[in-house]
């Protein structure tokens, strides 16, 4: 009896949390479907009766949405490539080899990864001057590289930990089977480390896709990425909230897609069965 009551209370509690979590999402969807101007009515309508796709139509056909999307994708691609190309060999080496300066590197990586966001903002002025001198202001590629640089310490730490969890027997078996260093990495270690790499990719995606401070400082309006573009919808006197909401939804789609794709590789226990009896 007590268990039943407890269960009912818990269910109710959890439901409340779920509703609280989902309400903003509902609000955004509902806002995106309402005609401009009805958002400020005092009348409470949970299901909009005057739903319209005007906001989406404006976004897709009249706004700069696709230009911003293209810019975001360029930055994202540069970041993803640079970051993975640096993180994977670095974290493998950090996990498997002993070399002088390893501990210093790891500790400084740790400090850097902790102040990553803070440092970007503090270093903004320095970065601004630097890029100006290098004539790299307003460059999407430069922005991607900067993102990658700020991510590498953290992703390397994370992936090193993942490599540490893979038994060295795999590497050694590959060596005995005649594989070179890179063949071992390519045919044995990377496929086994897929779940770890998937998490790394998610980390990179979430961070880069939503970064606004650096992008809005360093980019000119023709090179706006999605988050900067989204914020630019806010006008001085009045914000078209229905368009803003509609864009928020489209903006989230690629991130959701990456999550769904990466999830396939997140299956835990992939290494089960290769080791031990």
């Amino acid at each position: 009896m007590n268990a039943k009551i407890l269960s009912a209370i818990l269910t109710g509690f959890v439901s409340l949390i779920v509703i609280a979590e989902l309400f903003p999402l509902y609000w955004i969807v509902s806002a995106s479907l309402r005609p401009y101007g009805t958002l400020y009515t005092t009348e409470v309508r949970l299901i909009p009766t005057d739903a319209t796709l005007d906001a989406f139509q404006w976004l897709l056909f009249e706004s700069k949405f696709f230009i911003w999307l293209k810019n975001s994708l360029i930055v994202y691609a540069v970041t993803l490539f640079t970051c993975l190309a640096t993180t994977i060999p670095a974290s493998y080496a950090l996990s498997r080899f002993q070399f002088s300066g390893k501990n210093v590197l790891l500790s400084s990586y740790f400090v850097l990864s902790q102040v990553m966001t803070g440092m970007s903002v503090i270093g903004l002025i320095a970065l601004y001057t630097l890029l100006l001198k290098l004539k790299l202001m307003n460059s999407l590629i430069a922005l991607g590289v900067i993102y990658a640089a700020s991510l590498v310490p953290f992703t390397s730490w994370y992936l090193k930990g993942y490599f540490d969890s893979l038994p060295r027997d795999f590497d050694e078996a590959a060596l005995m089977d005649g594989a070179s260093f890179f063949q071992n990495l390519r045919h044995v270690i990377l496929p086994i480390a897929k779940p770890g790499i998937a998490v790394t990719i998610i980390l990179i995606t979430v961070t880069t896709w939503s970064e606004w401070v650096l992008a809005s400082t360093l980019l000119g309006s023709e090179n706006f990425t999605l988050p900067v573009g989204l914020v630019s919808l806010q006008a001085r006197w009045e914000t078209p909230w229905n368009r803003f909401a509609a864009m928020s939804i489209l903006y989230a789609v690629p991130i959701i897609a990456v999550f769904i794709i990466a999830q396939r590789y997140l299956k835990a226990g992939l290494t089960l069965g290769g080791i031990k009896g």
Partner: protein, 367 residues
């Protein structure tokens, strides 16, 4: 012909030597077992031969060539790991084919060779399965297949049977030995299980805890002629009883004095007198070289002891008797009956006692 020769091989981790000045010759087509307690450096020795570790000092010679610093992939050796280390993302087929794919063999050739190996090991039926869908014994075979397909000159095996259940282990032990003879490939096999070593090896190399080689012999010689108390106490199940004793001479006769009892060893003659100069000795008695006398006969033995415990093993039993603070294990027939604490006589088979010098650890005088 010598296939592999280890010369003054030493590996230190920090200050502690894992392998200490090891010299070992492995003849072609020989099945050599490195035997020792856990942590004795036998796996490290194997890894030095494989090239997965480099020695602090000494050389690894293969086919009269110094390969101490040659990359593992250029050593013509295969290794079977204790964990099997099958690649979890590949099927059994791909696991076995991996060394060939690395060598960039043509795919029809790979197919043919993998099929041959699979047939040899009876694993054709589950080549499409991934490691996690295989049982322990099947994984073991796939790991063996991956080692065989490379057609190496030397097999290295690191306790490959230790993850199998007891019954399967005995079965695969026999199979592995016949496979090695059939393929005629030099094998170096690491284990801490002396039964495994005795049953499979052509030659056993016993290592002690300090990473030193104690004795290299064929199994039967190792059993009947242990060179040191360590080997004597390691080989045999149960192993030899080792008793500290000293040599005393009285009225022209020679005795071994173990405190609780004395044995007249005058019959060993001068051999013992000249070699056993120190009086600190270790007396070794195999469990099967002692006999228990019960009832009236108990006074006829070499000494009297009390029965401590009896462990029946089916065909026979092991009786442990107590003499003072010493426990001695004696092999008895399975129908042996005695109550705990019963006084019994123990008689020794005098021709089969082993005497070691406690300080040098060497066998004394006689064989």
């Amino acid at each position: 012909m010598d296939k592999i020769r280890l010369e003054h091989l030493t590996k230190k981790f920090g200050e502690v030597p894992a392998v200490d000045d090891l010299n070992l010759t492995v003849r072609d087509k020989d099945f050599v077992v490195l035997l020792g307690p856990s942590g004795c450096g036998k796996t490290t020795t194997l890894r030095l031969i494989a090239g997965l570790e480099f020695p602090t000092e000494g050389k690894v010679i293969m086919n009269e060539e110094d390969i101490t610093h040659v990359h593992p992939k250029n050593r013509k050796m295969s290794m079977v790991f204790q964990s099997y280390a099958l690649y979890p993302h590949m099927t059994a087929f791909d696991n076995i084919a991996f060394p060939l794919k690395i060598k960039k063999l043509r795919s029809d050739e790979i197919q043919k060779k993998v099929r041959e190996v699979a047939e040899l090991l009876n694993i054709e039926d589950f080549l499409r399965r991934k490691p996690k869908e295989l049982s322990g014994g099947e994984r073991q075979r796939v790991a063996l297949g991956r080692a065989i397909v490379k057609e190496p000159e030397v097999f290295l095996m690191d306790e490959p049977l230790s993850n199998l259940d007891a019954k399967l282990r005995v079965f695969i032990r026999g199979e592995l030995k016949s496979l090695q003879k059939k393929l005629g490939i030099t094998t170096i096999y690491v284990t801490h299980d002396q039964v495994e070593a005795m049953s499979m090896a052509d030659t056993i190399a016993v290592m002690d805890r300090g990473g030193k080689l104690q004795q290299v012999s064929p199994p039967d010689k190792l059993y009947h002629n242990p060179a040191t108390p360590f080997v004597a106490g390691f080989i045999g199940s149960p192993p030899m009883n080792l008793i500290d004793c000293s040599l005393i001479q009285k009225n022209g006769r020679v005795f071994l004095d173990a405190g609780e009892f004395k044995i007249d060893v005058s019959y060993l003659g001068d051999a013992l007198k000249t070699t056993a100069r120190g009086s600190e000795l270790v007396l070794g008695l195999r469990p099967e070289d002692m006999f228990i006398l019960q009832g009236r006969a108990k006074g006829n033995g070499d000494f009297v002891a009390t029965v401590h415990i009896i462990e029946p093993l089916g065909l026979e039993a092991i009786a442990t008797v107590r003499k003072g603070d010493k426990l001695l294990r004696i092999r008895v027939p399975s129908d042996f009956r005695a109550s705990m604490g019963e006084e019994v006589g123990v008689s020794l088979s005098k021709q089969k006692i082993y005497i070691f010098d406690a300080k040098s650890g060497k066998r004394c005088g006689i064989s």
